[in-house]
């Protein structure tokens, strides 16, 4: 610490510059992660919510995991529908109208008395077929409690409440009562299961596929392409970070080879010097990351609501940890160099 700290404070400009680079990379990585998570939740929060409440989903085998394309066969429904762990789910994407304004919605039907029922920000769950609840993001389209809404099918409902975390494919989810879902006329898209089916029941299914709810996210239009492109960027940013840090520390170490040689000649061990180097990297990176996190949090707070942005503490900690790891990885090359320096180089009239 003695050497590490004094060198940091002595070469302020040099270390500030590399600190600035780490800081900028942190902000960039966190912003992109926030955007990725924001987009994911804008696209899939209703399914993420179900993933929290239940475990599996049964979809038609040919539906390509896509809920709006899935229709379970009568046979498979017969097998499933009376089981206590099963909850029927239907989805229809379409355009609803209110005050002559069109609102794209994902209409969902499920048993609203089960655990799968959405949580409300205000109002109440629909009391009968003439009522429905919708994600509170629909307020941005001008929808208010008590407003009349024409469903994609043509029937009218009154908005009795607003829900949270209920978005599907970048549109608000409209929850309607079971009897409003004309059984038989519209197919049952899927069955949500609280836990896995017993094997003999599973074997009776003819044209259905059972999977973790999380695995069905990729069937949501746009989900996979959005997430993979953002995640690729994040991976590259981490790669760039480690290379930048590695190059910086390597060049610095090379410049200081004779210094390290002297230190070893006068009695510093490789271990002491290595620890000093690692401490310095950790200190510099930690401070830069903390500033980066703070600035990203500030930025997120002033971001307009139209930009989907969400960052959980867990993600921030994970990314920060990853950054530290990458920084250490970057200093490894220098560490090897420092350990290998021969103190003999110090003697015999070399230059400092």
């Amino acid at each position: 610490m003695f050497l590490a700290w004094r060198e940091l404070t002595y070469a302020k400009l040099r270390f500030s510059l590399i600190g600035l680079v780490i800081f900028l990379l942190t902000v960039l990585v966190l912003s992109i992660s926030g955007l990725a998570q924001g987009l994911a939740s804008d696209n899939a929060s209703s399914m993420q919510y179900m993933d929290k409440q239940a475990e599996k989903i049964v979809l038609e085998a040919e539906a390509d995991k896509q809920l709006s394309r899935s229709a379970l066969s009568d046979h498979d429904l017969e097998v499933l529908q009376d089981r206590p762990e099963a909850h029927l789910l239907s989805l229809r994407q379409g355009t609803a109208q209110s005050h002559g304004k069109e609102v794209d919605v994902a209409e969902m039907y499920m048993d609203l008395s089960s655990d799968l029922a959405p949580s409300l920000t205000d109002g109440e769950l629909p009391a009968d077929d003439t009522e429905a609840v919708i994600d509170h993001s629909a307020k941005d389209d001008g929808l208010r409690l008590g407003d009349t809404l024409e469903r994609p099918g043509g029937t009218e409902v009154t908005i009795s409440g607003f829900t949270e975390n209920q978005r599907y494919s970048h549109t608000p989810v409209l929850h309607v009562r079971d009897s409003a879902w004309k059984q038989g006329e519209l197919p049952i898209s899927a069955v949500i299961l609280d836990h896995a089916l017993p094997e003999q029941v599973h074997d009776q299914l003819q044209n259905a596929e059972v999977m973790d709810i999380r695995a069905s996210f990729e069937g949501i239009p746009g989900y996979t392409s959005e997430q993979t492109s953002l995640q690729t960027m994040i991976v590259f940013l981490f790669l760039i970070s480690s290379i930048v840090l590695a190059a910086f520390y390597y060049i610095m170490t090379i410049q200081k080879l004779s210094q390290f040689g002297i230190l070893k000649a006068i009695g510093a061990t490789s271990k002491t010097l290595g620890i000093s180097l690692i401490l310095q990297v950790l200190l510099l990176t930690t401070v830069s990351i903390i500033v980066g996190v703070a600035v990203t949090a500030g930025m997120a707070a002033v971001l307009p609501a139209a930009i989907p942005f969400s960052l959980s503490l867990g993600t921030v900690l994970l990314l920060a940890g990853l950054f530290l790891f990458v920084a250490l990885l970057g200093s490894l090359l220098s560490l090897v160099k420092v350990i290998r320096i021969d103190p003999l180089k110090a003697i015999g009239g070399g230059q400092a």
């Binding site: 510093a268 110090a346 003697i347 070399g350």
Partner: protein, 229 residues
């Protein structure tokens, strides 16, 4: 009194099929002895000094520092020996640019595990001795060449080593500064009961030493007793 450094028939060969770089070296150094080592460039002076400083393992011969058989130590024990028993002074001061004068000394004290009290006392004593008190809060770049070299000497002294090894310590100094530095070295050897070897090409400096060892082609050519002025 016991020898600080003993070399008997020391030889160093870089490659087995080549002529040894130094051979047949016999040197015994007692406390209070200040010896000059001189000879043409490439005659093996630095190589010899590296072996005396436990930085380079001789190919054959016997080497002991304060009765410790150096050839039997592992590299960790050698590092410890260098830290505690040997003080190095190099051609250029080789100070750490980011440490102030007092910290240059404190760092080696820390490496040796000295207590804070011992450390502070020694730093003050050494800085006083070398006339550096008014420079203790200065970085090396604010010191003159002579001052830097005196800091390097103080650093070599910090852990109270019994053997000082200096490889052309005055090469980067002007004549007057060089003589000052060597005078300081001599005074310290005599007052603090040390032994020292100094590599130098400057015949004027021989006067400060007790003996001059002339090295040629890797062997001791002759040894002259020096006349102290």
């Amino acid at each position: 009194m016991n020898d600080v450094l003993t070399m008997e028939q020391i030889e160093f060969q870089a490659q087995a099929d080549q002529q040894p770089i130094v051979q047949h070296i016999d040197i015994a150094l007692r406390p209070q002895e200040f010896v000059a080592l001189t000879g043409p460039s490439g005659s093996g002076k630095s190589t010899l000094l590296s072996m005396a400083g436990a930085l380079l393992q001789p190919t054959s011969g016997a080497l002991s520092i304060n009765q410790t058989d150096v050839l039997r130590l592992n590299s960790q024990e050698k590092t410890k020996l260098r830290l505690q028993d040997i003080g190095f002074i190099f051609q250029s001061a080789h100070l750490l640019p980011y440490l102030k004068t007092a910290d240059q000394l404190r760092y080696v004290g820390k490496l040796a595990g000295l207590t804070k009290q011992t450390m502070d006392q020694r730093i003050q004593r050494l800085l006083h001795m070398l006339g550096l008190e008014h420079r203790q809060h200065h970085f090396p770049r604010h010191l003159s060449g002579g001052e830097q070299q005196r800091v390097a000497i103080a650093r070599a002294w910090m852990n109270d080593p019994s053997l000082i090894l200096a490889d052309e310590p005055t090469a980067s100094l002007d004549r007057e500064r060089g003589e000052q530095v060597v005078q300081t070295l001599r005074d310290q050897v005599k007052e603090s009961n040390k032994a020292a070897i100094m590599v130098t090409h400057d015949t004027r400096l021989f006067a400060y030493c007790d003996r001059v060892i002339y090295l040629d082609n890797g062997q001791i050519d002759h040894v002259e007793a020096s006349v102290v002025p």
